[in-house]
């Protein structure tokens, strides 16, 4: 019981501290209160969203776009990362290009995507796929290329070749790094879905955030960010739980104790 209370306190304490400093900043910083609403005002804005029915649809659409991007981008990153990690010719041919594209901010590519792909879902899913691809590709490439050569030789000496070597030895050895890539991709995808929805959308958390800005509703903007933060925390936690269940021998880096 005492342990559970301690765990509960550990989870709540950071948020309680954040709300405390938020109230202090609102009261004593001298900032225009319209630009820094109180936690209560943000809570009321969240309640408004929930009652209006917009909140659920916005969350579902944003999650849909992010999930599709994570799946497409993740699988593509995994596939290409494995190739560039194992085959030198593909590495020196494609890695410099990917590293260059990786540096492009999503905010810069969204207008281009709108011009090329239009306002439909394909453009938004392209942006989230773009966001998911690079962390997964980089970490897969890094994990696969740094698998201990001794393990590979040992497996080959025992007759392992081709797909058996890849799926039986290389990928399991690189799994920890690959999972880090997917974990990073979750947050980059959530960031980019907001960016993609700020223009040319009529539903989604990013759309709601942009509209709130345009009509001077900072309380609603913060409410959207709170929802996004909660989604991010839940997605990360869910990912940790699933990977721990599927691969109990893997300890993800930076896992809180």
């Amino acid at each position: 019981m005492k342990y559970k209370a301690q765990q509960f306190l550990k989870i709540c304490a950071p948020f309680a501290l954040m709300i405390f400093f938020w109230i202090i900043a609102n009261r004593y910083s001298g900032v225009n209160p319209a630009l820094l609403p109180t936690p209560l005002e943000v809570g009321n804005a969240l309640k408004e969203f929930a009652i209006s029915g917009n909140l659920l649809w916005d969350i579902l659409w944003s999650l849909r776009r992010a999930a599709l991007g994570l799946i497409f981008g993740g699988l593509l990153g995994l596939f290409i990362g494995t190739i560039t990690g194992r085959i030198n010719a593909f590495n020196w041919l494609f890695s410099p290009l990917f590293n260059g594209f990786r540096a492009l901010p999503p905010v810069a590519i969204v207008p281009l995507v709108i011009v090329w792909a239009g306002l439909g879902e394909s453009g938004k899913v392209f942006v989230t796929t773009w966001a998911a691809f690079f962390p997964v590709w980089l970490n897969t490439h890094s994990g696969v290329s740094s698998v201990d050569k001794g393990i590979i030789w040992a497996a080959r000496s025992l007759g392992a070749r081709g797909s058996r070597l890849l799926f039986g030895v290389t990928l399991p050895a690189a799994l920890s790094q690959i999972l880090v890539g997917f974990r990073l991709a979750i947050s980059t995808t959530l960031i980019c879905v907001i960016v993609a929805e700020m223009t040319g959308a009529y539903v989604g958390l990013g759309f709601r955030l942009q509209i709130s800005y345009l009509v001077f509703r900072v309380d609603r903007m913060l409410a959207c960010l709170v929802v996004l933060a909660i989604i991010g925390i839940c997605a990360d936690r869910l990912f940790s739980l699933v990977t721990t269940w599927l691969f109990p021998w893997i300890k993800l880096r930076h896992e809180p104790r």
Binding site: N32, A34, L35, E48, S52, P111, I114, V115, G118, L119, G120, T199, G200, A201, Y202, F207, Q210, I211, L214, V215, F216, R217
Partner: protein, 332 residues
Amino acid sequence: MKNKIFLIGAIIIAISVLAYLLTRGPSNDSTGKIIIAEGTQPIAAPIYIAYANGYFKDEGLNVELVSFPTGKFCLDALIGGKADFATVAETPIVHATFKDQPIRIVATIHRSRKNTFCIGRKDKGVNVPADLKGKIVAVPFGTNAQFALDTFLRKNDLKSQDLTFINLSPPEMNGQVLKGDVAAVVAWQPYIGRAKKNLGDNAVPFSFENVYEETYNIVTSVLIAGEKKDIAIKILKALDRAIDFMKANRDETIRIVSQRIGMEKSELDTIWPIYNFGLDLRQSLIETMTLQGNWAVKQGHQNGQVPDMRNFVSTTALKVVKFDAVSIKESN
């Protein structure tokens, strides 16, 4: 080891301070610089003319113009304390009044019934307003264009729920109009004019002339409108002179505006007749803003009672410059 940590910490702090100093925006320093946030549109022409011809300097003002893509950004700069004046249409001001922001409109510098309108696409089955039902329409949300569209729909017995609206800023609309993702777009000049030109015979324009008269306004802080009203008076004097110049020197005005905002002179020449420049504060501004306040509440953008818009207008400065141009009765 300790020395290394201190050295790294000192480098990080130095870089942060340098980055802050290098990226600081314009601010009111002790030299008395007056910053005007302008929205990079032809309708801000009086500002450009006054600046280019040195009218602000003649009034003893050290004015700096800071460009923003829309009036909403200009208003944000004013509210955030980064500008002393902002040029903005009435709709963003209306939204700010619900948060009782310390701003005051000191003059309207432009009005038009033809600056904003809708373009439909024939190939998307849009020939008359009723055809918009069930279609996707691109409009910049939270702006006077959205208000004008809603009013236009009501006048044509359509409801907002009959259409799907997509939020798109005017510069982004041209591509979408050409791609055919949307059946219609609503924006202001020059963007809507460009969309119409690019669509050619496929364009079906829906005028908003009978919908409402939009205004472009000079807004300032409560401090400048009140205690420091001399600054507002000088700004308006310079603008009044600029408008007189504009009326007498059309070609030169177009040249200056074209250079300032990067628009082709020929394009400006075509749309110039729709603009009506003049300094005033009319009662119709209050009525329009109140209507928009009611609309904002009905749309769910704002809550509560619509503020008394007269509380956000200051006629003091304009009464000194042009007494007859003021027909608004300020609130007590």
